[in-house]
Amino acid sequence: MRALIIDDSRAMRSILRRIVSGLSFETAEAGHGQEALDQMEAGLDPDLCLIDWNMPVMDGYTFVTRVRANPAWRNVTLMMVTTESEQGQIVRALAAGAHEYVIKPFTPDAIVEKLQLLGLVDKGVLA
């Protein structure tokens, strides 16, 4: 399994990388949505994208709509990980095709539990 971590904060990418690496994901990183799209168009084939909302060049919401517009990427699981916490924003992201939504701040367990909900991590991980 491969996770693409998309966040303009290097520290946040590092935190997320440690969490998903601990769940046996290979990881790749991008500093904004366009960089992530470029990597995917170049052949990176992630099973999971962890996506910040507010980033330069291309924000996370736009990235979600672009991924969902391409049938070749229909199996990619998209999870927002963002400080955007307005209810309308969450609804908007889900309607655009995000599967799950984590609001910063979060604990490492929160990421694991969401990935369990999505069926990407075995239920026994936290047992």
Partner: protein, 300 residues
Amino acid sequence: MRLGVTMAPASFQQIAALVLRETSIIYEPRKEYLVEARLHPLAVQAGCSSVDQYVALVGVDAQERRKAIDALTINETSWFRDNAPYQAFTETMLPALMASRTERRHISIWSAACSSGQEAYSIAMLLDQHLPAGWTADILATDVSTAMLARVEAGRYSQVEMNRGLPATSLVKYFTRAGSEWQVVPALRDMVRTRHLNLAESYIGIGTFDLVLLRNVLIYFDQPTRHDILRRIHPHVAGDGYLLLGSSETTLDMPADLTALWDREQLGRVQAHRPAGATNRPVHGLSATASPISAALTGA
């Protein structure tokens, strides 16, 4: 080498000392990554360029100090904790209970040792999704802590708590934003009532329930008290009802009088206790139906 951790050792020591002083929770060395993960978003929100800078701010700003302590002392309870009991509830227990309650059309549940209420409200969400129109339900949430009961009654949860195991679709359906917190919707809140109760003391007047959730609490009592609780809780479980213990508690040794009182029944990955001789058996295949609450929430 502290792989990937950018926080200075002095900052970690300062924040660990603060949390210890204020809450008695110990953050040991090698937990730097956890502290950093929890403080980084607060640092960003406060406009700090690093967690170290934020820790310095925490030292002089009481409001940020409270936020940092909250982020570092999170109640570990999550929504739909362990998942399997909730799956067993919707797939097996609820259909069986409904099949034998077609006249009364009411389901009653007791969340014993409810803590901050995630278990009670998780069950409430499932009842809302799976009970057909015309059915009602009530959930009694009890705890020894009045502070916890006040939290259940308020039905308000922090951002960090909301992330723990709650599907985003349920978040937007069953909660509304209330400042920096989330408020459970009235329809769900009204399903849950609270009562102060020490499990080691009398249950007189508590009632009888179709399902009693007594999960991850017996481990805090000594063996005689555990047995006493299992003995005294028996009359409060309906004859065809269920008692669910925590996954590590189902194998607790029971004396002969208790094994005579309780049958064990395997429901998928969950082992339930049932009053001995309970006759109804699983009815599989309950489908989600739109209840009046669902209809109200979705505007249908």
